[in-house]
Structure formats: C-alpha cells, structure tokens
C-alpha cells in the first residue's frame, strides 16, 4: 500500500516543486516506486522541472473527467524507471478538480506504487486543499523568513483539520523542510534561525536545504537536482532528508558559508 505524501507550504516560491522532484527522484533511486502528481492546475511546473514538458498528452483533469485513463496520463521518467509523473492541466480551470475525482485517482494509484508525492500549489484554496486531502504524511517546505513561517503554520493547522485523516480522528505525520537556507544571512541575523522556526512551528525537522545555484541549473535543464548534480550541497541535503523520510537516522548538518566544508554543528536527531 502506498504512502500519500503532500509537499505543501502556504507561501509560494519556497521550493515545493523543486523538493517534490528532488525527493521523488531520490526515493526512486533508493528503489521505491514513486508517482509525483502536480496539483497546480493552470500554473504547472513539475513537468518542466522533471524535463517531461514535451511528452505531456493527458493530464490530471483529463483523468478526473474520465477523458483519459490513468495509465495514458502517467509519464515515465527517461532516467529513472521507478519514477512516474501525473502532470497538471495548463489550460483547464481549477474547478474541474473534484474531491471524488482526486480520491478515485489516489485510490487507483495506491495499489501500484510505494509513494504518491502530491505537489501542492501555493495558497489555501481548493487546489491546496485537494492536494492535502488524502495525505498520510506531509512535508511543509519553509523558508527562514517570517511570512513563510506564518503561512506554514496556517497550513499545519489545516493539515490537522481539513484532511480525511483529521476528519477520522487520525493524525497526518508532518515534517518541516527548511529550504533556501542562506548561511551567510543567518550568521548576520538577517534570517530566522533554525531554532526560531522549529519553536514557532513545533513540528519535527526533516532537513535543511541551502540556497544553491545548482537548483536553478537543474531546473533549467529539466532534471531534479539530486540527479543532475548529486554531489552538490543541496542534492546531498535532499538525499539525507529522503533517508530520514524512509526511517533512517541521519545526523542533521546545518549548511555553512564555506562551500564544501560541512561542520557537524549539532547532532540533531529528527524526531
């Protein structure tokens, strides 16, 4: 039975799509069968970041509407045979996405893979609500600045009230992923510290991904950063986060200014 994991944030532009692609690829490399689903109807990006934009025939809305079957819409990654993409529609309206339609698709996918990663759109409206609706676990991507943290807090509140699990009285397992962490600015006190963020969000930390040019380069060539430059700091941070997601204990490394030199500043066990 697959685990449904939603990658959400509230705030836009924090790194949800990048993280979905990077961790989806890392999970597939670890031998898991992964389907990544783009829920951002009208502003789809996951297909670009995965380099599949020229192979999109059918999309999520087509499947909801019954125009296409799920196998027709799924796009297999050319580099990783365990990674599949269900793209969003770029032309249709968000209203075409329905609760039962999404539920049907998730149920159908559950039988045939290990992980269903739902890339949520920004905001707290219908698209974001539907992306989290059937989730078993959630990764809340946060940037270390005040507006992002407050929006993430809002989303955490919604994960505890608007999901099917919450309605049944069960818990959605939540993890915080701090992305675009800039060590230099943190040192100057211009960004929120890790401790501040965790104190406000009161949710276990999955990983810290540094601000990195490698991420930009990777999305420009249509490849997840974990595939494109696996030895980069960002890619290794994503790989560590993926290991933690799979239950391994990996010491938390706080990225520092000096490139290539990783200081073991604290051994923080992900709870």
């Amino acid at each position: 039975m697959a685990k449904v994991l939603v990658v959400t944030s509230g705030k836009g532009g924090v790194g949800k799509t990048t993280s979905t692609a990077a961790m989806g690829a890392a999970l597939a490399q670890a031998g898991q069968k992964v389907v990544v689903v783009d829920f951002d109807v009208g502003l789809r990006n996951l297909d670009l970041v995965l380099g599949a934009e020229r192979r999109v025939v059918f999309d999520l809305i087509n499947v909801v509407q019954g125009i296409a079957k799920l196998p027709q819409a799924l796009i297999r990654d050319k580099r990783l045979e365990n990674l599949w993409l269900l793209p969003a529609s770029q032309t249709k309206d968000k209203d075409a996405l329905t609760d039962e339609g999404v539920g049907r698709i998730i149920d159908e996918l559950r039988g045939s893979c290990d992980w269903i990663l739902c890339d949520s759109p920004a905001g707290i409206e219908r698209g974001a609500m539907l992306a989290m609706r059937y989730a078993d676990e959630a990764i809340i991507v946060t940037n270390p600045e005040v507006s992002s943290v407050r929006d993430s807090d809002r989303i955490i509140g919604m994960l505890d009230s608007k999901t099917v699990r919450a309605e049944k009285g069960e818990r959605v397992e939540k993890h915080v992923l701090i992305a675009r962490y800039d060590a230099a600015r943190a040192a100057r006190g211009e960004m929120l510290t890790i401790d501040d963020i965790l104190e406000i969000l009161a949710t276990p930390l999955l990983g810290i991904i540094p601000e990195s040019q490698d991420v930009l380069r990777a999305s420009n060539v249509g490849s997840p950063v974990t595939l494109n430059s696996p030895s980069s700091v960002a890619a290794r941070a994503y790989a560590d986060a993926t290991k933690r997601l799979l239950g391994e204990t990996v010491p938390m490394l706080v990225p520092t200014e000096r490139k290539g030199l990783m200081n073991l500043l604290r051994g923080r066990r992900a709870a």
Binding site: D153, G157, I200, A202
Partner: protein, 237 residues
C-alpha cells in the same frame, strides 16, 4: 319461479350528530380608557414587570368606556396583538362596528375574582463555569471561542490565531496571537502566558495592542489584568 330480485333498502350514511354544548371560561378583560396612548403605556409597564404573564392567556377587550370608530377598533386590536397578546373577543360595542376580520362580539360576561399578575422573579442563578483544555498548539488562522469559562493551552498560540474566553486564558507557551478574556462582562478575568509576544490582549472589551506593550516585558512570562479601565501587564514570577 322467477328470480327474486332482492333489493337492499338504500342505506343512508349515518350522520354525525353535532352536539352543541355550553362551557364558560374565565378571561382577562382589558378596558381601555381615553387617552388610548396613555392606556397602552400602562399596558407596556405591566408587561415590563411580568413579560410572560399574558402569553397564551385569553384577553377580552371591553370597549364600553370609549367610543371608537371601526377603524380605530381595528387599530387598537392590532396594537394589542403587536404586544404578543391575543384578543379573544370584544365587548361593549355595537355589532355593526365589528367586521369579520376582528375578534367576535361577546356578551353576557360576568365579573369574577382574579389573581393580579405578580412581578416575575428574575433567574438570578449564575451560569455554570467550565473550562477548556487544549493540549496542542493553536495554529495561525485558528479561532478558539469558549464563552463558558477558562481556556488553557498546553503549547503556543501562533501569530494570526485567536482565543476568545468567557473566563481567563492560560498559555503554557508563547502567546503570539490575540487573547480576549472575560468576554461576557467579566472584568476579573486574567491572561497568563510563559512568553508574551501577543498581537492583542483584551479583558472585558478593554484592549491593548502589541505596540503598546512595554518593551521590557516582551518575551517574558507575564500576566495581564484589568484595573478599572487600565490594562496592567506585569511579570509573572
């Protein structure tokens, strides 16, 4: 022998016999006097003392002391009914003055003794105070409203969240959002927290925003109480 044709005598449907019976009832009689406006004010005063007394009780209007035109009678009956008093009948006028939309004309009423309405005792029992316990943080956007008593939070209250309580508010964590205590007119309610970074604090409607919070108190354990109209926020140690 020919077939005998049996004919049933036509059966008349049995008729329900309507039995007319007589019964007498006791009704309150309202006897308006001029000026009608003044008399209606007296009625209102009686109603104010005992608001529920006339509800459901039959009332008869005795118009013998006043000389009202048919339209004036209609207006008077409407005024009484607006006060939630149902008029059962009218007496002391000529039949021609009453049209079919008005209560019927009554005759042959006999005086009898009645209990005057006693002012009702107000329910002075204080409401039951209970308390609400939340054992997880209150997230941004969440609004906890509990007018029946105290609210205790085992965790922080995020920025953009709010707690509205009839009693006091206790936050075992950081209060970053809005806390409004004593909302049902309870000026003795207090707000306690382990770290005060609130956006807004209010007790019994008197509020103070984060701007007005003393810089020395920020991020420290604090309690807020109302002193007359002034919010006193003091360190809690």
């Amino acid at each position: 022998m020919g077939e005998s044709i049996i004919m049933e005598p036509s059966v008349e449907p049995t008729r329900q016999l309507i039995r007319l019976r007589g019964r007498s009832y006791v009704a309150f009689v309202f006897a308006p006097v001029v000026p009608i406006v003044g008399w209606l004010e007296e009625v209102d005063a009686t109603l104010a003392r005992s608001p529920n007394f006339f509800v459901g009780k039959p009332v008869v209007l005795d118009l013998s002391a006043v000389d009202l035109s048919p339209s004036a009678i209609t207006h008077l009956v409407k005024s009484i009914e607006q006060r939630n008093i149902r008029v059962l009948g009218v007496e002391g006028v000529d039949a021609e003055h009453l049209d079919s939309s008005l209560p019927p004309l009554l005759t042959g009423g006999r005086a009898c003794t009645l209990q005057p309405p006693r002012p009702e005792k107000r329910d002075t029992k204080p409401p039951q105070m209970t308390s609400l316990l939340l054992d997880s943080p209150v997230r941004s956007g969440q609004s906890i409203i509990f007018t029946d008593g105290d609210v205790t939070v085992l965790g922080s209250v995020s920025s953009g969240a709010e707690i509205v309580a009839g009693g006091s508010i206790h936050v075992y964590g950081t209060l970053r959002g809005r806390a409004m205590a004593g909302v049902n007119g309870n000026p003795n309610a207090r707000i306690y927290c382990q770290k005060i970074e609130a956006e807004l604090i209010a007790i019994d409607g008197y509020y103070q925003t984060a701007e007005e919070l003393d810089a020395n108190l920020r991020s420290k354990p604090a309690q807020a109480r109302l002193d007359g109209k002034i919010m006193r926020i003091t360190p809690l140690n």
